[in-house]
């Protein structure tokens, strides 16, 4: 992707090169995951692994249909299965595709200290550029969804790229292409938000899911990946989707006020000692020696 299509860069001093380029983006790209029509078939898991050229792993049985307990540096998306009793007494087997949410206000980018290791394009995709990554794992701390995963061999962090390479040439992400039931949709945020809201409304009006809604958490400014859930009041039931994700307070503090206070303190300290020297100068030995005598 070209430089002018970047709207935020991690660890970067000064403005982003393309910051004042005018662009029609309708809110950027958006992937809708309609959990109510997901059948947990894992075509998306496999498509992602194959598109990114990763190998298949050895896994072990864990009393669930879920392929593995968590995403990995080379396994970007994972269907989380959860047997759940809804409030109205009905039973559900919830299947949620878990991957990077591509937040509008990404915690990973905020936390990252390495210049250019994480970029956010004008289309909203948040991409890791491993050549600039220093492997400090600040992004792991900054993400409210526990997404970035560290490769201990190469000391780089990886996550879903929303197939930025495919999107760049006008293709849909690999997972979208593979989904057999059309549970995944791709388009502009504006269009997809409307599609998702319509679907949620349809669920509320025509099915037993009166609490259906769209998950587009404003605590991170909204996300380029949104869910339609049967029960928007209980996202945690869907394999631990955070109800109100925000960049952790301490991360915001550390990257915000604390930074300026610290800079001020250090700068102030240096100024302080310069002023002291100008005012008082060094301690003079000779005077004392003379006095002693």
């Amino acid at each position: 992707m070209q430089t002018l299509q970047i709207k935020a860069i991690s660890g970067h001093a000064g403005p982003v090169p393309g910051h004042d380029a005018q662009r029609e983006d309708a809110g950027g790209v958006c992937k809708v995951i309609d959990v109510t029509t997901c059948i947990g078939c894992k075509a998306c898991e496999v498509a992602c692994v194959e598109w990114n050229g990763y190998p298949f792993h050895e896994t072990t049985f864990d009393n669930t249909y879920q392929t593995m307990p968590d995403t990995r540096w080379n396994y970007y998306n994972l269907i989380r299965f959860n047997e759940h009793q809804f409030q109205d007494g009905s039973f559900g087997w919830l299947m949620r595709k878990d991957q990077c949410m591509h937040c509008v206000d990404p915690g990973c980018l905020r936390a990252c200290p390495a210049d250019g290791a994480i970029v956010q394009y004008t289309n909203g995709i948040v991409d890791f550029r491993q050549e600039n990554c220093v492997g400090c794992e600040y992004c792991v701390t900054g993400c409210p969804f526990n997404i970035p995963k560290f490769n201990s061999e190469t000391k780089k962090v990886f996550k879903c790229t929303l197939c930025s390479d495919r999107v760049n040439v006008g293709l849909e992400p690999a997972c979208i292409k593979a989904c057999p039931t059309g549970c995944l949709h791709f388009g502009t945020k504006t269009d997809m938000k409307e599609l998702a809201e319509n679907r949620a409304r349809q669920l509320r009006n025509h099915t037993s899911h009166k609490n259906a809604g769209v998950y587009d958490p404003q605590g991170v400014g909204g996300t380029q990946v949104i869910y339609v859930l049967h029960d928007i009041t209980n996202p945690e039931a869907y394999g631990g989707l955070p109800s109100n994700p925000r960049i952790p307070l301490l991360v915001r503090l550390w990257k915000g006020p604390l930074k300026w206070l610290g800079n001020l303190a250090m700068f102030g300290g240096v100024i302080g000692v310069v002023l002291h020297y100008l005012r008082y100068g060094p301690k003079e030995l000779d005077k004392q020696a003379e006095q002693q005598k």
Binding site: T36, T37, C38, I39, G40, C41, K42, A43, E45, V46, V49, P55, F56, H57, E58, T59, T60, F61, D62, N63, T64, Y65, T67, E83, F91, G92, W93, L94, M95, P180, T181, G182, C183, R199, Q202, H206, T207, S208
Partner: protein, 868 residues
């Protein structure tokens, strides 16, 4: 399927039962999802466990495995009691108004009239229509009391009690059982449906016993839940609504029982009553379990048919005309109605088939070489083959892409059978359990020395390395090209078969033998006889003219050597050749219809008439004349499949009309053109079914309870239970009190994906799904090993403790069900790593088969569980 995959999006109501399409047909499941999204269609899922399909359903009911007929029978009763039927459809498009002859008895005691305990078979002559005419409005003839009820019949036999099934009711003795009974040409019928012996009244009486209480008792589904489901499914006909359409979708959850055929029958009857067959978004829809299993059955990969579902000749068919007389139905209907009876063209299909088989050697003079065809003298189904091998009758087996040991049933029997065989040829793409049966767990090196079977392993081509056609559940023939050639020495199937055949023919030529003629005279006129091009074979299957033929009505002619455009051109005089009449039209002079990929769908009904080619004659929805009322107007003008065009005086539509195109509605030609009656069969007469004209609920052969409907005849009386030394059956007295079912996962496909790292990553190890309550009782935690035993063998795997299978109350007793995915054996990635117990799931299943389709009872047998 009577309908198609894409057509499912047109439905308003889906009953998905005996199938788990979200799991096993994820791509096809797109269409039920579309129906929900686009039409707010409702989905009811009924299954022994809460499946991936259930996760998207509007209503889920957990049913005891094998209790499906009770459930569907309950639906039929509900529909009848609450007038949730399409009356006009029922009267005019089914045999509901037909009168059944006297002497027929319903099976209140579990047996229909005509059962012979000695032969364990039925004399079906009473299962027949009464000869006659329109008796609507006329009072019913005075029937003798004895024929109206089982009780009456018992009294008529001099009070021998209900236990004696040997004799039929009064009047049965008068039937001459030597000549096979036939359907009467003219059938008595009552359009008011009030005659006590009309099919409708008998139907009502038969299912009157399937009350919600009885359904709850048998299925384990609480009565209120059952009623909610019945209300929902039949709501499409509430208050006289005839517009809505409902579909029933099923797979091997229905077929893999000793009464599987009758389960499907019950669903078909329900759909006929609701008027759903022939309509967009309706139908009776089987989801086939393999990419080309539809093709396999169409091309007669089963012993009792010839390609195109022609009947297999038997030893009584002494010549072609006898065979044709036996297998060509004559119409049987109300005389005022019309019936196309398309099977009346059997002679054309059969002779064209013989010409395809034997070419110039088949002539009018030699009965078109009919005597070359093998004649069956008994059943030779899958389970019979293995039983014969076990008994030493079958000496050798050639198996292509078919893992007999893993399939079972009763896998140990199959392994023992292979030990006794002289030779085994396995065509596969990797070493499998069958080709390594001699290494199966439990066989020591000493025992291996005693195994004399010679095993030949032929490396074959995988599906991407072959061209040809796949025929999907929607009956679409789709040609595929080779993606990459087979590796190394692997060969395509047709080359292997051709070379074997030609070598055998050579040997016959050289050495002679018993009746070499069929081998020597088989037509084999391919450009490369050692490796016939499948395009040539496909063209042969489509058929061509062998002489110039003309259509006398239109004047159209087809030259000798030209491909036939349709099966309507087939002749019985030897002037046409056709490998499978159903596929005629698939490869015409215009080219390979099966290669087409036209994406136009002008009607929006998902018909896509120019995408590939579906049999028959590119019709996408079968029996589509029934999508209109008697006058030829569609039941729902917004989903018009076909309709009668009065100006043109023909049937037209978005789909190809499945009726004689110029037969006006006033002639009352029945939409079910493949039935002799022309109408759908609510009542399956005579030899239509081995076990009864109406489905009756019978327990699986291994069942936790006695059949509450008739405890003295708990199971299907005509079901075949193999009884060799290695065929054992378990009862609750022996401690087998848990109901077991077997099934498949999305992430694996039968027995070969255990060799693929991708699938193995997604689901690495075998497991047994069991209820939390059962696990707690046994002190078992998820991931701990459990041993499942049936009377035949045992299976060890890790427990998956889940809330998706709940305990049930069946006939007042708490009953547990467990489920086992079948995908692991003793050879594969994890198996070779020592990560599994190396046992196939089908060590557990019983060799018991459905008497109509011969499918084994892989689901719904008894086991017990122990910790390991």
């Amino acid at each position: 399927m009577t309908n198609g995959w894409i057509d499912i999006k047109n439905t308003d109501m889906m009953l998905i039962m005996g199938g788990n399409p979200a799991e096993c047909h994820p791509c096809g499941f797109k269409w039920p999802i579309e129906a929900k999204r686009q039409r707010n269609a409702k989905m009811i899922v009924v299954d022994p466990r809460f499946t991936r399909t259930a996760a998207t359903a509007d209503m889920f009911l957990q049913i005891r495995a094998g209790a499906d007929i009770a459930f569907l029978g309950g639906f039929i009763k509900y529909a009848l009691d609450n007038n949730r039927i399409n009356k006009e459809y029922l009267v005019h498009f089914t045999n509901a108004p037909f009168i059944i002859k006297q002497g027929f008895k319903l099976p209140e005691d579990g047996l229909y009239s005509g059962f012979d305990a000695a032969t364990q078979a039925y004399d079906k002559s009473t299962w027949n229509y009464e000869e006659g005419a329109n008796v609507t409005g006329k009072p019913a003839a005075a029937d003798s009391a004895a024929t109206l009820s089982a009780k009456g019949a018992a009294q008529g036999r001099g009070g021998e009690g209900q236990g004696d099934q040997a004799q039929g009711p009064v009047g049965a003795k008068a039937i001459d059982s030597r000549t096979p009974a036939t359907l009467p040409a003219k059938v008595a019928y009552d359009l008011s449906l009030e005659h006590p012996r009309c099919v409708y009244q008998l139907l009502k009486k038969h299912y009157s016993r399937y009350t919600p209480e009885m359904v709850a008792r048998i299925t384990g589904i609480p009565k209120d839940d059952f009623l909610k489901a019945a209300e929902l499914f039949t709501s499409i006909r509430k208050d006289g609504d005839l517009k809505k359409a409902g579909t029933i979708i099923y797979a091997v959850g229905w077929t893999q029982h000793s009464f599987g055929t009758q389960i499907i029958r019950t669903a078909a009857m329900l759909q006929l009553m609701l008027g759903n067959v022939g309509r967009a978004g309706g139908g009776v829809n089987a989801l086939r379990g393999h990419s080309n299993i539809q093709g396999a059955t169409d091309m007669a990969g089963v012993f009792d048919i010839l390609p195109g579902y022609l009947k297999m000749p038997n030893v009584a068919d002494v010549d072609l005309s006898t065979y044709l007389k036996r297998t060509t139905p004559t119409t049987s209907k109300p005389s005022e109605w019309d019936s196309l009876n398309y099977w009346s063209n059997t002679p054309k299909f059969a002779v064209s088939f013989l010409k395809a088989m034997y070419g110039d050697s088949a002539t009018k003079a030699n009965d078109f070489a009919f005597h070359y065809l093998p004649k069956i003298d008994r059943k030779y189904s899958w389970a019979e083959i293995w039983d014969d091998m076990y008994r030493g009758i079958v000496k050798g087996l050639v198996t292509f892409g078919m893992n007999g040991v893993m399939i079972g049933p009763n896998s140990q029997k199959n392994i023992e059978a292979l030990k006794k065989a002289d030779w085994l040829v396995v065509g596969e793409i990797y070493p499998d359990e069958t080709s390594e049966f001699w290494k199966s767990p439990g066989i020591t090196p000493e025992m291996m020395k005693d195994i004399k079977t010679v095993v030949y392993r032929l490396p074959c081509a995988g599906f991407a390395e072959k061209d040809g056609t796949f025929v999907n559940s929607a009956r679409w023939l789709q040609w595929k090209d080779i993606a990459l050639p087979p590796p190394g020495q692997a060969k395509v199937d047709q080359e292997i078969l051709a070379r074997v055949f030609l070598k055998v023919r050579e040997l016959y030529k050289k050495e002679g033998g018993k009746f070499p003629d069929p081998i020597l005279n088989t037509a084999w006129n391919y450009t490369d006889p050692q490796n016939p091009s499948l395009a040539e074979v496909a063209k042969e299957i489509n058929g061509r003219a062998l002489a110039d033929i003309a259509d006398t009505k239109t004047g159209e002619t087809i030259r000798a050597g030209q491909q036939l455009p349709a099966f309507a051109w087939l002749r019985d005089d030897g002037s046409t050749l056709c490998g499978n009449w159903l596929y005629s039209g698939s490869w015409t002079e215009a080219g390979a219809m099966i290669r087409r990929r036209g994406t136009e769908d002008p009607s929006g009904l998902g018909i896509y008439p120019n995408w590939a080619w579906s049999w028959p004659a590119n019709r996408r929805v079968l029996y589509n004349r029934a999508s209109c009322d008697v006058s030829g107007k569609p039941w729902d003008p917004e989903r018009r499949q076909v309709w009668w065009n009065d100006t043109q005086q023909r049937w037209v539509g978005n789909d190809v009309p499945d009726i004689k195109v110029d037969s006006p509605p006033k002639d009352h030609m029945g939409p079910f053109i493949m039935n002799a009656e022309g109408v759908g069969r609510i009542f399956g007469p005579l030899a239509a079914f081995a076990d009864g004209p109406f489905p009756e609920f019978y327990e699986p052969i291994e069942s936790p309870i006695t059949n509450p409907l008739h405890p003295n005849q708990s199971t299907n009386p005509v079901v075949k239970k193999f009884d060799s030394a290695i065929d054992k059956y378990g009862t609750t007295d022996q401690g087998f009190n848990i109901v077991c079912t077997t099934y498949r996962l999305t992430e694996h496909y039968h027995y070969w994906t255990k060799n693929n790292p991708m699938n193995v990553e997604l689901v690495p190890e075998p497991f047994v799904e069991m209820p939390v309550e059962l696990a707690n009782e046994m002190g078992l935690k998820g991931g701990e090993k459990v041993k499942v035993s049936s009377a035949r063998g045992h299976y060890i795997a890790k427990a998956m403790v889940t809330r998706r299978i709940k305990p049930m109350i069946v006939d007042g007793k708490t009953t547990y069900q467990i489920g086992i995915p079948i995908h692991w054996g003793y050879r594969g990635i994890q198996e070779d790593r020592g990560k599994t117990a190396l046992n196939p799931a089908n060590l557990l299943s019983p060799a018991v088969i459905d008497p109509n389709a011969y499918t084994p009872e892989f689901k719904g047998f008894l086991v017990k569980l122990e910790r390991v």
